[in-house]
Structure formats: structure tokens, C-alpha cells
């Protein structure tokens, strides 16, 4: 079997397994997997910026929240229908990423991390400051009537799971196409050696900005979908925690791998879910797990597997 065929088999197989899982999983875990699939889309977007292009951002919560509020506010204040609201969330994430990128990409490395962190913090405080229009720190509930698409009520379990799966599958296949496309190769070239890429005639600023906008589109649609599927929009999702989470998902699953973000989100979700039942220091356990990972498998789970055998893993 060719590398391409193996790759397609793996990714389509994952979608098939996730489709089948909804019929076998207990309801608690089925809902968890719905959440994980949406969070994995967020992490896939982060992976496009960090894993493939080498842009270590600490501000992706801003793009996730932009998508969430971009979807939620038009519903809350203007009674928009769900599809236009979701599109507004998608566009809000991408547009804000473009805007931040125009300024932040003048820096690199640690400076880029700090600048993106500052933008995200400014965004969070803006949500609090504009309390009257955003619901402030308390947030707001998305009207259940606005969570019905084509007769499917997204506040019920089966349609919600399918909506999350469709989003996840679409995002994953686009990501797979992207990283195997010529532009995807250029992204990796930027990550590996920016100077050499520039010598070859590529414009690093333009490539990185494009990657960041794509990353923002992923974060935006993930935020919009999370708000719509689970019925709540709140400023907590704009805090630093939600910038760090996708990074952890990507690091755990494997930066620069298409399935890595999903695997990382899945493992991290259940690591917190299970350990929090035993200790209040569950974040310490998460931290310890990451230290072990960085020491013994710095490329993450799938990155290590690719290094040691499955060279074809995209």
C-alpha cells in the first residue's frame, strides 16, 4: 500500500470509528467525544500555525473567543439564524487572526509569544469592559431556538454528535489536503529554515500570515461551534488557559501531525476527567505528564511514532 493510501485509510478510518462510536458509547462519553472533536478542530488550527509553520502563539484563545462571540452576539442581540451566525464566527476568528498577524508577525520567537499573549489578554479585558454588550464575565446563554439547523436540534445528543463529527471530519480532511499541498510544504519550509525559504523566493511574512489566518479560521469555527453545540458563550474562553490548552493538545498528540491534535485533546480531556476524581492537584498531574513527555518523547506521541517507524504519517 502506498503512503498516500495508508494516510487516507488512517484518516477515513478514524472518521468511521468516531461515527460508529456514537452508537456504542455511554451518553456521558458520547457527549465528551463531541466536545473533544470540537476542541480538536481548535487544536488542528493551532497545529497549522505552530506544528507546521513554527509560530508559537500564546494568543489563540482570542481567535477561539472571537468565533464564539462572533456566533453568539448576532444571535443574542440581532436574532440571527444559526448558519449565518456560524459563518460570522468563522470569519471573526480568521479576520482577527489576520489583524493580529499583521502586527505580531513583525516579531518572532519569544517576542511573538509575548505579543500574541498581550493581544489575547487585551481581547479578554475588552469582553469584560464591554459588559453591557458581551455579558462580561458571566457570559450568556445561546437561545435554544437558535440552535436548530435544518430541523436538527443541536441541543439534543445525536444531532450534536453528528454536527461535531461533520465539523471535525471536514476540518481534518482540509488540514490533510493543506499539509500535503505545495503551500503546506512551504509552511514546513518556513518552520525548518526561514532564511533558506526566503532565498528560494518565498515571502515569509505572507506565508506566515496566511497560515495564521487559516489557523484563526479553525479556531473561529471551533469557538462558534462550541458555543452553539453547548449553549453558552462566556469570557472564560478568552482567558490564557484556552491559549495554552490547544498547545498542550498539540504537544501531547504530536506537533506537525494531522491526527495529533485529536489524540492530544482526547488524552488530555480524560486525564483531567479521571485525575480530578482523585485529587485536587490534577493540574499538577497534567504538568508532570507533560514534563515526562517533553523529556522522553519531545515530538509528542504521533511525532515519536512517525520518527520510529510510520514515516508516511502526515
Amino acid at each position: 500500500m502506498s503512503a498516500s493510501a495508508k494516510s487516507w485509510a488512517l484518516h477515513l478510518g478514524l472518521i468511521a470509528v468516531l461515527f460508529a462510536a456514537q452508537f456504542g458509547l455511554p451518553s456521558y462519553h458520547a457527549t465528551n467525544v463531541s466536545r473533544i472533536m470540537v476542541l480538536a478542530v481548535f487544536a488542528m488550527g493551532y497545529n497549522i500555525a505552530f506544528g507546521y509553520t513554527g509560530l508559537l502563539s500564546l494568543g489563540h484563545a482570542l481567535f477561539f473567543a472571537a468565533g464564539m462571540y462572533g456566533m453568539g452576539l448576532p444571535i443574542w442581540t440581532l436574532s440571527w439564524a444559526p448558519i449565518p451566525a456560524l459563518i460570522a464566527g468563522l470569519v471573526a476568528g480568521g479576520a482577527l487572526a489576520g489583524l493580529v498577524g499583521l502586527l505580531a508577525l513583525r516579531t518572532a520567537g519569544v517576542s511573538f509569544m509575548i505579543v500574541t499573549l498581550m493581544f489575547a489578554q487585551a481581547g479578554y479585558l475588552t469582553l469584560l469592559y464591554l459588559n453591557t454588550h458581551t455579558g462580561g464575565d458571566e457570559g450568556f446563554v445561546v437561545d435554544s431556538a437558535a440552535r436548530v439547523i435544518a430541523g436538527f436540534d443541536l441541543s439534543t445528543d445525536a444531532p450534536r454528535y453528528m454536527a461535531a463529527l461533520i465539523l471535525f471530519a471536514t476540518a481534518m480532511l482540509i488540514c490533510l489536503w493543506l499539509v500535503r499541498s505545495p503551500f503546506g510544504r512551504v509552511m514546513v519550509a518556513m518552520r525548518e529554515n526561514e532564511q533558506r525559504s526566503r532565498m528560494l523566493g518565498y515571502n515569509p511574512f505572507r506565508v506566515k500570515l496566511t497560515a495564521l489566518v487559516i489557523s484563526g479560521l479553525y479556531a473561529g469555527i471551533a469557538g462558534a461551534a462550541y458555543g452553539m453545540l453547548f449553549g453558552y458563550v462566556g469570557a472564560t474562553f478568552a482567558t490564557i488557559q484556552y491559549s495554552i490548552l490547544p498547545m498542550l493538545y498539540v504537544l501531547l498528540g504530536g506537533a506537525g501531525t494531522v491526527i495529533g491534535p485529536f489524540l492530544g485533546a482526547l488524552l488530555m480531556f480524560y486525564l483531567i476527567d479521571i485525575t480530578s476524581g482523585y485529587t485536587t492537584a490534577y493540574l499538577f498531574v497534567v504538568g508532570a505528564a507533560l514534563v515526562v513527555l517533553v523529556l522522553f518523547a519531545p515530538k509528542g506521541i504521533l511525532g515519536t511514532i512517525r520518527e520510529r517507524g510510520l514515516k508516511w504519517l502526515p
Binding site: L128, N131, G139, S144, F230, Y232, F237, T280
Partner: protein
């Protein structure tokens, strides 16, 4: 010395026998549970995160109330269990926790959260799961109509009523020109809006509103904004910043004249008012939802409650005088558990199929007389808005202790209904 009892003079042996028999009988009198499974109540607990100080005491209060309920025969003759699950004081995790409690642990209902963003983030999922969700949040989000028919707040008065009910006394006793200092986000804005409206309705005037950005760690540049003709300074800072705020306020006014000062105890929950640096609070006033310091006229129920939750007369843990309780709020957990008991018994609750009947039974409640079930005082529940209304207390710091000077009436806090949840479908 042996006293004659009813004409009999018992010997020491007889007394010992009697005491032994009494103990045995007491043992037999303990609830003998039938074979039926226990009622499982899920508790969404702020064990970690910014609500941890509250969570620690909410858990203790829930355990104490559980013991009282089980000692009195449980609910509908069945023992009661509480399953605690930490939500990290995070709305995303909150919704997951409710699902875990209901779907995994098999809880009949969920109760206990305090922080508004967690409640608002969780309530939609509770409604989707069609599980009663009884919050102890004091937020106005229940009665405002933002939430749903499955979400109720029967254990604590909301901030709208709390703030409004304070205004008449503050204006009549402390002054009519008010300057407000509050954090610049939703919690502070609730105070700003409700108190300003109540001040205007009672013939006073809010002459300045000073909003403090949530990232501030020092307040010296805001204090000069307090107008010189301020008669009452209303403050409601929260978190670690409150200690700095009070200290800097003291330095700002020094030993010179200062306005009367009125604050919300939220600023100092779990903080000893006699702490170094808080001397400036002497002679100032606070709202309290429940008097931290045991008052001279404390009822027998209040006394029993205080002992059950392990709090001394100063409002600190019996085992550690430095561990100050979140006393102004935690009674809500105790009272909510007793409302759950009353609601389940009124509806003849047997299984999760009766969840809707339970909600309807709570909605049918109205007067809640002061009792061991309602230790903070009598209350009135509004079934349409799913919100309870209770008395509020104004206390003055005297000798580092909060001593009550005023109790509001139930009517002081009541306002027009903004929603009728009973007209909504399940």
C-alpha cells in the same frame, strides 16, 4: 448527691443500667433504612479555582446538612448520599461535571454552585439532561429569565434583592450622597445598576461611580476621584485586592474626616475582619447574608446550625480559629438541601422519572418559616421566577467584630417578576 426522682431514689447501679438501656434504645432509634437504594444528590463543587475558599465551606455545610437529613430519616424513607465533583470554578468544566454526576454517578439532581459564570455555563446542559439544578449563586440570572425551568435558586436571595433592600437603611442612617467603588465587570455592574436605582427611588443620589479595572492591584490613583462631599462610600471589591483596597483607603483618609463606609461582605468572606491592615474598617458597615459573629438573639436553630457546620461564635472553624467561614453565603447549601427534601417529599419522589414532579413541587412552595431547615430566617419563594427572598442584615464593625444593627424585611427586597418559568415547557 442523688436527687429523688418522682418519689424514687435510684441507686448508682440502677442509673448505670438505665443509661445503658437508654444508649441501646438510642441505637435502635437511629434510622433503619429499607432495602431501597439511596437518593443520590450531585454537588457541583468549586473545590479548586477562584471559588475554592467558598467550595471548602460549601462541602462542609453540605456534609453537615446531609447528616441532619439522614439522622431525621432521610428523604421519603430512603437514605441520602451526596456525590461531590470538582468543577474548577470553570463554566466549561461545570457543564461536564453536571453530565458526569447525572449520567455516570446516576444522581437524581444537582445542586450547590455559587459562581455566576459557572451557573450560566452549566444551566443549558442541565435543561438538556432534564435534571433539576438548584443553585446557591445569589446571581440575578435565575430571576432575570436568562435560564430555564430546571434551574432554581431556593436557598439564597439574589443580588438584585440584596442590594435594593439595603438602600433605605443606608440613606436614612449613613447619608444621602453616595459614591460607589466597584470592580468593572458584571458582578460590579450589578451592584452599580441595582443600588443606583434603589438610591434614586429612596430620595438619595449617587454622585460618583468609580469602576476599577479587574487587573488593578493598587487603588491610590482612584481614591482622589471620590468627591469631597461624599457622605457614604459604597464598596464591593473582591478577591485579594480587597485587602490592598481597604489599606490604601485607610492611608488616603488617615486620621482625618472620612465618609461613612458601607461594603458587601463578599469583599471579606473567609477573611478575618480583625486582620492586621483592616483596622480602618472599625466603625464601618457591611451587608451580611447571615451574621458571621453569633448575635445575642441567635435562635436555637442558628445555634444548632453553627455547631453542625463546625463554626465558632466568631465565624471561624472550631478546629482552626484562622480558618474563617464563608458564613454569609454557605447557609444557602444547608437550606437548599432542606428544600430538596421538602420538594421530594411533597412530590412523592421515587426515581428520576419524578424529576418534573419535583420541580413542580418546589415551584408550588411559598412561605418558608424560620426553622432548622431555614436557619438564616424565614423566606418567601417565588415559584414563577424560581427565586427565594430572605432577610438581609447590616452589621457594623465593632472591636473587629461584625455586630448586626439592622435586619431588612422580606418586602424590602422584592421586585417585579421578569419571568414566569411555570409557563415554560419542560
Amino acid at each position: 448527691m442523688t436527687k429523688e426522682l418522682f418519689g424514687l431514689t435510684p441507686s448508682r447501679r440502677a442509673i448505670l443500667k438505665g443509661a445503658g438501656a437508654g444508649l441501646l434504645t438510642a441505637g435502635f432509634a437511629a434510622p433503619v433504612w429499607s432495602q431501597s437504594a439511596p437518593i443520590k444528590l450531585g454537588f457541583q463543587l468549586h473545590r479548586t479555582g477562584i471559588g475554592a475558599a467558598y467550595g471548602r465551606w460549601y462541602e462542609r455545610t453540605a456534609q453537615a446538612a446531609l447528616k441532619v437529613v439522614n439522622d431525621a430519616g432521610g428523604i421519603n424513607g430512603r437514605p441520602v448520599e451526596i456525590v461531590f465533583e470538582d468543577d474548577g470554578t470553570d463554566p466549561k468544566r461545570g457543564a461536564e461535571v453536571v453530565e458526569k454526576l447525572v449520567s455516570q454517578a446516576g444522581c437524581d439532581l444537582v445542586f450547590g454552585p455559587l459562581f455566576s459564570h459557572v451557573v450560566i455555563g452549566t444551566a443549558p446542559r442541565a435543561a438538556e439532561l432534564k435534571v433539576p439544578y438548584l443553585v446557591c449563586s445569589e446571581g440575578y440570572h435565575v430571576a432575570s429569565g436568562m435560564l430555564n425551568r430546571w434551574t432554581m435558586q431556593p436557598g439564597i436571595t439574589d443580588v438584585h434583592a440584596q442590594v435594593s433592600s439595603m438602600a433605605p437603611w443606608v440613606l436614612a442612617n449613613l447619608g444621602k450622597k453616595v459614591t460607589m467603588v466597584f470592580p468593572d465587570y458584571a458582578f460590579g455592574h450589578d451592584h452599580r445598576d441595582f443600588f443606583t436605582a434603589a438610591v434614586q427611588a429612596n430620595g438619595g443620589e449617587v454622585i460618583a461611580q468609580i469602576a476599577i479595572p479587574p487587573t488593578e492591584t493598587s487603588f491610590t490613583r482612584y481614591l482622589p476621584q471620590i468627591p469631597a462631599d461624599t457622605e457614604v462610600l459604597y464598596h464591593v471589591m473582591v478577591g485579594p485586592a480587597v485587602l490592598t483596597f481597604v489599606k490604601e483607603l485607610g492611608e488616603f483618609y488617615g486620621s482625618g474626616p472620612r465618609p461613612e463606609i458601607f461594603g458587601f461582605i463578599d469583599s471579606l468572606e473567609a477573611v478575618d475582619t480583625a486582620s492586621p491592615g483592616l483596622e480602618f474598617l472599625e466603625g464601618t458597615h457591611f451587608w451580611e447574608g447571615h451574621n458571621r459573629v453569633k448575635q445575642a438573639d441567635a435562635s436555637e436553630h442558628e445555634t444548632a446550625y453553627r455547631a453542625a457546620v463546625g463554626v465558632d461564635d466568631n465565624g471561624a472553624s472550631l478546629s482552626d480559629a484562622k480558618d474563617v467561614a464563608t458564613y454569609a453565603h454557605m447557609f444557602s447549601v444547608w437550606e437548599t438541601l432542606h428544600v430538596i427534601k421538602a420538594g421530594m417529599e411533597a412530590s412523592g419522589y421515587q426515581s428520576i422519572a419524578d424529576r418534573q414532579k419535583f420541580v413542580e413541587a418546589v415551584e408550588a412552595m411559598s412561605d418558608m418559616p424560620a426553622s432548622l431547615a431555614h436557619v438564616q430566617g424565614d423566606k418567601k419563594f417565588n415559584g414563577k421566577t424560581h427565586q427565594v427572598f430572605g432577610h438581609q442584615f447590616i452589621s457594623k464593625v465593632e472591636g473587629g467584630k461584625l455586630m448586626r444593627v439592622h435586619t431588612t424585611s422580606l418586602e424590602d427586597g422584592m421586585y417585579e417578576d421578569a419571568v414566569d418559568y411555570t409557563s415554560q415547557s419542560f
